[in-house]
């Protein structure tokens, strides 16, 4: 493991440490942050007073390092059930740009490893919109494109998508400073490290999340609106991708049929005298026209990929919303618990049972409890209430922190989305214009051939 920023605090930070939490503690100490002492839960790493510094430090990974997914290769090996399988590996190349000697490094990773990294990020930074991976299986394909994962065009587009993923993470103000991410890029043995973070245990169960979504009473309005927006974005982009694939299919058909002209003109030119040459050249132009559609549609796939990225991004946004609902629900539940405990305390102290309860029933049936019993119960309740209050305070803080941090990242995401989609639409338009220009050129040439006949 190279130490390329020797002596800098960042190198210390990034050196392999068994305990990530104490690591963060150390890091903040080194930076002279005001708040420390308590072990900081992972999602509050992005705290108020270190805001600006984190930002600056975070994005420095990309400034100090070049990252690319350079190649893809097929491998065969034995999988978990000891069967032969073929899979593709991708070469991640990194090169430290700081310092006098750029030190390049590289290693091979499978798609499933990228998935593991992303799952880790999802759990560790639930308030961040985590960049999506390129699709696992080819979807929204028009018929000529193969839906086969081994198809070279698919592999190539996936390589680009994976590189894009890494660059997005590396340029994110928060995510780029993640140690596991760095190990993923540079260390072959990263898997042990990622499992040691224990992130799997921290992940919320689907059921819990679903439950919260249905039962939460007062989610932040902005998040509800955001969730609604994400749903609409998902819906429209998937429809768009589907119809675009059909349009591509039809366009392919139109172009290819023109190729038949080429053949027939060539056959016809054989029996003509004066018209022969003209027909022959016109035929060549028709062939060229028919052949040009392959490149055109290959380029359009880039546009489709850009749309797909935001289709998947919408899902990532929804994940953040779900986390908010979960936290909000937990807060509401804790508050409710506290309130009911307080009420119980009141009732017990006043000696009246206002609410219908099992206790009330049994006391009526079996007689009231003794004052000693009541004292004991009150004591227990007091303890519980104290704990409850702490819980509620913690949860409230957690919720507020989450909302604040999440909203910050959402604003960043919104800007990024507007910028990226605008660029995507522009390049799509440029593509269309270029396609039309080529078409006009071909037909102009053909027309000339015809007029010379």
């Amino acid at each position: 493991m190279q130490s390329w920023c020797s002596g800098s605090s960042l190198a210390e930070f990034l050196q392999f440490q068994p305990n990530p939490q104490s690591l963060l503690y150390d890091y903040l100490q080194i930076k002279g942050a005001a708040l420390h002492v308590q072990p900081i839960p992972a999602n509050a790493a992005y705290s108020a007073s270190t805001d600006v510094q984190c930002m600056a430090e975070g994005s420095c990974l990309l400034r100090k390092m070049e990252i690319s997914v350079a190649e893809a290769e097929k491998r065969t090996g034995k999988n978990a059930v000891n069967m032969q399988e073929t899979y593709t590996v991708y070469l991640i190349e990194t090169s430290v740009t700081e310092g006098h000697n750029p030190v390049p490094d590289s290693l091979w990773r499978r798609y499933s490893e990228f998935e593991l990294l992303r799952n880790y990020l999802l759990v560790t930074y639930p308030f961040i919109v985590i960049p999506p991976l390129p699709e696992k299986r080819a979807e929204f394909v028009w018929h000529k494109l193969s839906a086969d994962n081994m198809d070279p065009d698919f592999v190539e587009r996936r390589r680009i998508g994976l590189e894009n993923f890494l660059l997005r993470v590396a340029s994110h103000p928060v995510l780029s400073s993640d140690k596991i991410f760095f190990l993923f890029l540079t260390e072959n043995g990263w898997k042990e490290a990622v499992f040691e973070t224990g992130f799997l245990a921290k992940s919320d169960s689907r059921l819990k999340a679903l439950n919260a979504t249905f039962r939460v009473k007062n989610p932040d309005k902005r998040f509800s609106e955001l969730k609604h927006y994400s749903d609409e974005l998902q819906s429209v982009t998937s429809q768009l991708l589907r119809v675009r694939a059909r349009v591509a299919d039809r366009l392919y058909g139109v172009y290819k049929v023109h190729g038949n002209y080429g053949r027939v003109f060539s056959e016809w030119s054989a029996i003509e005298k004066e018209m022969g040459d003209g027909l022959q050249s016109a035929g060549h132009h028709m062939d060229a026209y028919a052949a040009s559609v392959d490149d055109i549609l290959e380029e359009e796939e880039h546009y489709a990929d850009q749309l797909k990225e935001y289709l998947f991004y919408a899902e990532a946004v929804k994940a953040v919303c779900r986390k908010h609902e979960l936290l909000q629900y937990e807060l509401e539940t804790a508050s409710q618990d506290l309130a009911s405990k307080k009420q119980q305390q009141e009732e017990l102290a006043a000696g009246t049972v206002r609410t219908f309860s099992f206790k009330g029933m049994t006391s009526k049936l079996f007689g009231q409890e003794t004052p000693e019993q009541r004292e004991a119960k009150l004591k227990v309740l007091e303890e519980q209430i104290k704990e409850g209050e702490v819980t509620v305070t913690e949860k409230t803080l957690e919720c507020e922190e989450f909302v604040k941090n999440a909203w910050k990242d959402i604003e960043r995401f919104k800007e990024q989305k507007d910028h990226d989609l605008r660029e995507a639409l522009m390049s799509y338009a440029v593509m269309q214009i270029s396609m039309c220009k080529k078409g006009i050129q071909v037909w102009t040439n053909a027309k000339e051939c015809f007029s010379k006949m």
């Binding site: 590396a170 139109v254 880039h302 546009y303 660029e423």
Partner: protein, 365 residues
């Protein structure tokens, strides 16, 4: 892409959109002919010349009014002045107890002395054109008579009274009549004169009926009769050429129809595609304008494509079909020639036989 080094997801077009010129602006200089000043008009002229099948003299500077005149003033290849102008227009439906049919107005303007009046305008139906053509073929069998549009249409498949069909037919009839009028021999044919001038064509038709049936019978005899010894080389070559030519035209027709079909299906998908961008724009903020414009662009493309497809059906396909019909009549002429050759050879044979009989008889005497 905003991410640092990822430039691979953007397209190859690295220019900003402002730099990209409109596709048609650069191309105009290529399309204009060397002589004419006005690119737009020369473009229209070239279109006209292709549609009409008549050559357009592009060396003379075009004025906009002459565009209209060119439709009627066909440039003459032989340099003669034209003194006979015909046109077919104004289709109208006639409903009678027996049948429903369409008539067309046939207008004639002429300075020829064979015609009593300088101008005529009367109505004719398809039957009348068909009659005229048959008469011309009969009376001038060695000349190539221009073809008529298809006579029979399958009633279930094509609507005989739809605007499209009637218009296509009218154009073809107009072309037919003009070609006859321009023909140095056919235009002086008596039947042609009658067609253009007679108020009551039906009574005139009845006179020539008998001859028509006789003619069609003799044509049928061609295949069943005497076999030719050999066809002179040039005619054989001509027939071969016509066979291949007809085949190729047929193929082109089929390809064009297939393209039309594919384009229509493409059009259908485009009509679904465009509105999706507008519905997206509805719930976006910053992106609303660009998305809306994409939607509008897709819609205009769809409209343009529709026009293109219609034009192909209306202007390109009929010309192909016309030539197929032309080839049919050419083949018929060649068949007739074959038949004449066959009769001639048969007569020669008969003479030889008679001579031998005569000599034989002389010997016996």
């Amino acid at each position: 892409m905003s991410a640092g080094n990822a430039n691979s997801l953007t397209s190859s077009g690295q220019q900003s959109i402002e730099e990209v010129s409109h596709p048609l602006s650069a191309e105009e200089s290529v399309l204009s002919s060397p002589d004419t000043a006005n690119a737009a008009i020369s473009l229209a002229e070239k279109d006209l010349s292709l549609l009409n099948g008549t050559p357009v003299d592009t060396s003379s500077p075009a004025s906009s009014s002459s565009l209209v005149n060119r439709l009627q003033l066909d440039d003459d290849l032989n340099g003669e002045t034209h003194d006979l102008f015909v046109s077919v227009d104004d289709p109208k439906k006639h409903v009678s107890t027996m049948e429903t049919y369409i008539t067309y107005r046939v207008t004639t303007k002429t300075t020829r002395t064979e015609f009593d009046l300088p101008e005529y305008s009367l109505r004719r139906r398809y039957q009348d054109f068909d009659w005229l053509r048959n008469k011309l073929e009969e009376s001038q069998p060695t000349h190539l008579v221009p073809p008529l549009p298809e006579k029979f249409v399958m009633k279930g498949v094509v609507d005989r009274f739809s605007e499209e069909f009637v218009e296509t037919r009218r154009k073809a009839l107009d072309k037919f009549l003009k070609r006859v009028a321009d023909h140095p021999v056919l235009s002086f044919n008596e039947n042609f004169n009658v067609f253009l001038t007679a108020k009551d064509l039906n009574s005139y038709k009845k006179q020539g009926l008998a001859l028509l049936t006789k003619m069609s019978e003799s044509v049928k005899n061609v295949t069943g009769g005497y076999k030719l010894r050999s066809r002179p080389l040039e005619f054989a070559a001509m027939l071969d050429y016509l066979d291949v030519f007809t085949q190729k035209l047929g193929t082109i027709d089929r390809i064009a129809q297939r393209i039309i079909k594919e384009q229509s299906e493409y059009l259908m998908e485009l009509r679904d595609y465009g509105p999706l961008y507008s519905s997206w724009a509805a719930f976006e903020g910053e992106l609303q304008k660009p998305l809306k414009s994409v939607s509008e662009c897709v819609t205009s493309c769809a409209t343009a494509l529709e026009e293109l497809t219609d034009d192909m059906s209306e202007d390109f396909l009929p010309v192909l079909r016309e030539y197929v019909l032309y080839i049919e009549s050419m083949k018929n002429v060649l068949k007739k020639r074959d038949q004449v050759q066959a009769e001639y050879e048969a007569k020669l044979e008969a003479i030889v036989v008679r001579k031998e009989e005569k000599i034989g008889a002389a010997w016996q005497v």
